[in-house]
């Protein structure tokens, strides 16, 4: 383990990626995540087995990821909302070709060019497919500097284990904020298991093909069901959440990432006013920890979903809660970051029916 150090989220992600054996990074500049490619460029420049390319576009960078991943390397790209939209084509191919890769989205205000402030408007895009076709991304949502380091390691491991692209979904705040962090020891890349599907040149073995085209519909159907079986296994094996002060809670806030930190501050405040509040924070957004939430919801008087969007994750919450308790939504889209006081006010208003759908 490293000594405790104070680093910004984007740098934590870069350092954790390198320690996880990431040896290829392809990207294109966009705020608020430029410090990540900059970190990769300067770190890789000192290594003789790592590749950094600043591509001409997001399209090119995600396709360089496809090529590098096809050779068996641990590879990463990163961007922020508009750039992630451009990468969707390649992400769909990665899923279909069953290629591991880590994709980082430090979300900003949108739609369109939006702004560079922290936002959570890309939940649907990340968790419901984003690109074309029947596929899912594993989506991890860190809320703390240390969690960025831990989830980055997890992202590379999961990508390789399931041969699937994994997204780390943060926001401008997670990327820019500095917090203390301790890194795990670096992995020895030379000890990684050999990938028996990787393209390395057909030396002493039959040639290999990595493809997503299956012109014969039954073959394409077979791929789709194989992916579904994989996604089902992922759902059973990796779903994760933080449950905070929920044992005696009557009101539970559901929030992820930066919004969850603010919500946690709000929970503290209203507890001191005698309101029994708790926090449910999904750490995996896909697979969504819905079963756990559903069983909790039986004993709750109210669930408040707080997102830095106009309401996306709330749909998943309602899907699992199935009316066992009322589910309200409070959102601040556009890059507005609520204060814990504001959310505490929302929670205090639940009993009197004062909750607003939006600001």
């Amino acid at each position: 383990m490293s000594a405790k150090t104070l680093m910004r989220g984007t740098h934590v992600l870069g350092e954790a990626a390198i320690r996880s054996g990431c040896r290829a990074y392809f990207g294109y500049p966009i705020t608020p995540q430029n410090e990540l490619p900059e970190y990769m460029a300067s770190s890789f420049a000192k290594m003789d087995d790592a590749v950094f390319v600043q591509a001409e576009s997001e399209l090119a960078s995600i396709n360089m990821v496809i090529g590098a991943s096809a050779t068996g390397a641990r590879v990463m790209t990163s961007s922020s909302s508009p750039g992630i939209s451009l990468k969707q084509e390649g992400i769909s191919y990665l899923a279909a070709m069953e290629l591991p890769a880590v994709i980082v989205n430090m979300m900003r205000g949108g739609p369109g060019l939006g702004n560079i402030a922290p936002a959570q408007g890309d939940y649907f895009q990340a968790t419901k497919g984003g690109g074309h076709g029947d596929y899912r991304l594993i989506v991890l949502a860190p809320a703390y500097g240390q969690e960025i380091a831990d989830m980055t390691r997890q992202a590379f491991d999961l990508a390789d284990k399931y041969r699937t692209p994994v997204m780390i979904l943060g926001d401008g705040m997670m990327g820019q904020m500095m917090e203390p962090v301790v890194f795990p020891d670096p992995l020895d890349v030379s000890k990684f298991p050999v990938k028996d599907w990787a393209l390395t040149g057909a030396k002493g073995r039959p040639s290999r093909i990595i493809r997503s085209l299956w012109l014969d519909p039954p073959k394409e159907e077979e791929l789709n069901w194989r992916l579904v079986r994989k996604y089902e296994a992922i759902s059973q094996e990796i779903t994760d959440q933080e449950i905070y002060l929920c044992d005696d809670a009557e009101i539970v806030v559901v929030a992820y990432g930066t919004a969850a930190r603010i919500a946690k501050g709000a929970v503290h405040r209203v507890r001191s006013q005698g309101i029994k509040a708790g926090l449910f924070r999904p750490k995996t957004l896909w697979p969504f920890p819905g079963e756990v939430l559903a069983s909790m919801s039986k004993n709750l008087e109210h669930i408040v979903v707080f997102e830095m969007s106009t309401g996306q994750m709330v749909e998943d919450v309602r899907l699992y809660v199935e009316g066992r308790c009322p589910v309200s939504f409070y959102g601040r889209p556009g890059g507005v970051v609520s204060t814990p006081e504001e959310i505490a006010g929302v929670l205090s208003g639940v009993g009197s029916g004062l909750i607003k759908k939006s600001a």
Binding site: K4, L6, M178, E341
Partner: protein, 181 residues
């Protein structure tokens, strides 16, 4: 204890380093800390600011909408942040560049001529550490020892003379604050 402070000024005044050293010192005292710099288009205009939270508990938001403390290293920063300071809080002003008082009667004001103090030590660029020394005495967020070793850690790899200069600037700020109580 959970205290929030905004450092503000223009580029070149070492505003981000002030916050970083404070956060680093807090971390080494095993406190929870966050450091949030301004970023993107916001920093293109030549202004700089950052927010530091030092807390005994987990930190909810790294943003300070009503911070206990604000450091303004130049006049525009005072204007920008004077209304945000929590009632009963403190505003630290670089009195070499700010001659007016904040338009508030419910906050404390600490004035320090940090350009002059740094210049007298032949350490013009260490005005930020002078101010941090003043802040350290008046806020008690972290200990002097933690700050001294944070400066050493943050400037690791730099010349020894530079580290000492910054540490001396910190001490000069602390002395000024103690003498002008």
């Amino acid at each position: 204890m959970s205290l929030k402070i905004i450092f503000s000024g223009f580029g070149g005044q070492g505003v981000l380093m002030m916050g970083y050293v404070l956060a680093f010192a807090g971390m080494n005292e095993d406190k929870h800390v966050t450091f949030l710099p301004s970023y993107g288009a916001e920093v293109r205009g030549g202004t700089a600011n950052c927010t530091v939270v030092v807390s005994d508990e987990e930190i909810a938001s790294p943003i300070a909408s009503s911070p206990e403390f604000v450091v303004a290293m130049n006049y525009p920063s005072m204007i920008k942040y004077q209304n945000m300071v929590k009632p009963g809080g403190t505003m630290f002003l670089n009195s070499d560049l700010i001659s007016e008082d904040p338009a508030r009667d419910d906050i404390n004001v600490v004035k320090a001529p940090v350009n002059t103090l740094a210049h007298e030590m032949k350490a013009d660029r260490s005005l930020n550490m002078v101010m941090l020394g003043v802040v350290a005495v008046k806020t008690d967020m972290v200990s002097e020892d933690a700050l001294m070793s944070a400066i050493e850690k943050v400037l690791q790899g730099k010349k020894k003379s530079l580290i000492e200069m910054n540490q001396n600037a910190l001490k000069a700020g602390m002395k000024f604050a103690a003498d002008n109580n």
